[in-house]
């Protein structure tokens, strides 16, 4: 018994020692996720980016998943800061204020908050211009719909989601002015059965193309069962609905996360708002399915090229809201601030923003 105990104690000491060694040497990066990593959703996309960092020499990553946006967020971020993490990425809107509080206490740590708008001396925020990819997928939807009703299963009426819906609708209208986009709010980011029911109700009012701002592929499956088309989000969802999946608006966080780590390593990182677009590959569209005619593919890819070069802007005036009031004047382009706080629907969207 004594022997076992002493072996255990030695092991414990060794482990502690090695743990201490590793922490001193490695460049540690922490991630905070709001949901389980899951299969194809928001946290999964970020986790792919995290895994890319693990391949960088000397970089070691950690994460905590399913962290509620309440008191737990501050503790999780704080604990990472206290352990000497060099960079902490918090990937949900509700982490903004908790992160800001921690950032003030740890001036040497770099804090990066996703999808918010606040910054501090050592805290930046970041996001991707997903609306550009949404616009392109909207073009595909507009070209493929026959009923001219396109369904959008959406989680919560917040600017990020509304911006995506608007960009999608503008994409639809750019190729098919007659089509309308109908929005159903599920009031959940992730609940496969509820998402499916919402998707079905859209199919039943005549939608023949569906898209989603949700974390499960239930919408894709609903479309396939009904013989309709679908457009994925977060990641390429074609394996869930190969017959329905036209294209997906996808995240690719790896280049961004690598860039931030490199900047911090070099000491050239700046605390600002990083809002990368399709030109840097942080957002993209997946390969289009075989049911999309070549002419449509060409047109979408041409538009993608124009978005990358900056020739095409998604929110370029004139843009009117649902009532027909001009929101973005002719010849103007919406500012980032306007986009960040967007709470109105463009004309042609059916649904309420509450």
């Amino acid at each position: 018994m004594k022997k076992v105990l002493s072996v255990m104690a030695t092991a414990l000491l060794l482990v502690t020692f090695c743990g201490g060694m590793a922490a001193a040497k490695d460049f540690q990066v922490g991630f905070v996720y709001v949901s389980p990593i899951g299969d194809a959703g928001w946290s999964w996309a970020h986790d792919q980016g995290r895994k890319a960092l693990d391949k960088m020499p000397g970089v070691k990553t950690s994460f905590v998943e399913s962290v509620p946006e309440g008191q737990d967020a501050e503790r999780v971020i704080l604990n990472m800061a206290r352990k000497g993490y060099r960079i902490i990425f918090a990937t949900s809107y509700g982490y903004m204020d908790p992160m800001l509080k921690v950032a003030k206490k740890f001036p040497k740590t770099v804090f990066m908050h996703c999808s918010g708008f606040k910054t501090a001396k050592n805290m930046g925020n970041y996001f991707g211009r997903m609306y550009q990819a949404r616009f392109l997928t909207g073009m595909v939807a507009g070209a493929m719909t026959k009923s001219n009703i396109i369904g959008y299963v959406a989680a919560f009426p917040i600017p990020e989601v509304i911006r995506g819906i608007n960009a999608f609708a503008l994409g639809v209208q750019s190729v098919n002015p007659k089509a309308q986009v109908r929005v159903v709010w599920t009031k959940t980011w992730y609940d496969p059965a509820t998402e499916k029911e919402a998707a079905k109700s859209l199919l039943d009012v005549g939608a023949d193309v569906l898209t989603q701002h949700q974390d499960s592929p239930a919408t894709q499956e609903a479309a396939q069962e009904k013989g309709a088309y679908s457009i994925g989000y977060n990641s390429d969802m074609s394996k869930f609905a190969p017959k329905a999946h036209l294209v997906a608006a996808v995240w690719n966080w790896s280049p961004f996360y690598r860039y931030i780590v490199e900047q911090v390593e070099k000491g050239t990182w700046k605390a600002k708002a990083y809002w990368w677009g399709i030109d840097k590959g942080i957002v993209n569209i997946s390969p289009m399915g075989p049911m999309v005619p070549q002419a449509v593919k060409d047109k979408v890819l041409a538009a993608k090229k124009d978005l990358i070069s900056g020739k095409l802007k998604v929110f370029a005036g004139p843009v009117a809201d649902q009532k027909g009031d001009t929101k973005i004047a002719d010849g103007k382009v919406a500012s980032d601030k306007e986009l960040l706080g967007m709470t109105w629907f463009v004309k042609g969207v059916v649904g309420s923003t509450q």
């Binding site: 109908r182 709010w185 009031k187 496969p192 059965a193 079905k200 109700s201 009012v205 499956e221």
Partner: protein, 306 residues
């Protein structure tokens, strides 16, 4: 009219998990055991159904695995409630917590895998029949089996001798015991049956409705099923009605949004099922011993020979 049919068809298909789980819970509660582990049993059923189905390629084995998994958890609950005389509320909660953790933990390697799933019924020419046709065409054989279970359980509870023994055990175990009815075995059987149906309801999600394994994919339907039992006043027929009403209100809320004609704000429609359940429970309790049913008298109470 077409819209109504659509709503009915959606509702029927989406209500099956709640219906199955609440039918099982009715039987369990009728024998005097309160099972708050339904949510956990559904989750484990969903995982087991998917995994077995995917590995074996057989839907039947998948559903069988789900039922076995649900029963296994129910066995734990039954053992604690019947033999260890534990608090049924705590035991049920513990089973749900444990099963939620285990399913997410064991299910990790299966996330995002594409497995098998059960398709809709080949209704053929029946699809042309007005009203019934379009509704039927969206269903599958498990839907029909679940619907068939409703009159079956109702009949079993009302008329057959096992039903009588179950009710005797749930109403007055001392008297039943004195009359030679085996109280503990009947309670075990009823709890296991409840677990079996909860597991099947879970597998309905992972093999039929939203194929694939997703963490926490039941989204609280197990809790709704428990409420539905009260709503139904422990009668299978009313459980069907309740499940349809509950599903119908959700479908209606989305339907209003999808048509852009929001007659009632969505948040009020979301509240309604819960308030209705409380209202019905109130009516049932106040009007008990008249035409409505009442709770089994010995529900939640352990029984042991003195």
């Amino acid at each position: 009219m077409d819209d109504l049919i659509f709503i009915l068809a959606i509702t029927l298909k989406s209500s099956i998990p709640v219906l199955l789980a609440s039918l099982g819970e009715i039987i369990t509660e009728r024998s005097g055991i309160l099972n708050l582990g339904v949510e956990g049993m559904m989750l484990v059923g969903a995982l087991a159904g998917f995994v077995v189905g995917q590995q074996s390629g057989s839907l039947l084995l998948g559903f069988g695995g789900a039922m076995a998994a649900g029963m296994l958890l129910a066995l734990v609950h039954a053992f604690f409630c019947i033999h260890l005389r534990a608090s049924q509320v705590i035991s049920g909660l513990a089973v749900t917590i444990l099963a939620t953790g285990l399913s997410s933990f064991l299910g990790r390697p299966f996330i995002g895998r594409v497995g098998i799933h059960l398709g809709s019924l080949p209704v053929g020419p029946l699809a042309e029949v007005p009203l019934v046709g379009p509704v039927l065409a969206q269903q599958n054989w498990l839907c029909l089996a679940a619907l068939a279970l409703v009159p079956l359980t109702a009949w079993a509870l009302a008329g057959s001798w096992p039903g009588l023994s179950i009710r005797a055990v749930g109403e007055d175990p001392e008297a039943a015991d004195a009359a030679g009815v085996p109280v503990a075995p009947i309670r075990y059987a009823c709890t296991l049956f409840g677990g079996l149906l909860a597991g099947l309801g879970g597998a309905y999600l992972s093999l039929v409705y939203t194929p694939g394994w997703k963490e926490g994919m039941t989204g609280g339907q197990g809790w709704i099923a428990i409420a539905m039992v009260i709503f139904a006043t422990w009668r299978p027929g009313r459980a069907l009605l309740g499940a349809l009403l509950f599903g119908g209100l959700t479908a209606l809320q989305f339907y209003f949004q999808a048509t852009g004609a929001e007659l009632v704000p969505a948040w009020i429609l979301r509240l309604l099922p819960y308030l209705l359940t409380v209202g019905i429970l109130f009516l049932v309790t106040v009007l008990k011993r008249t035409r409505f049913g009442a709770a089994p008298a010995a529900l939640g109470q352990p029984f042991f020979r003195g």
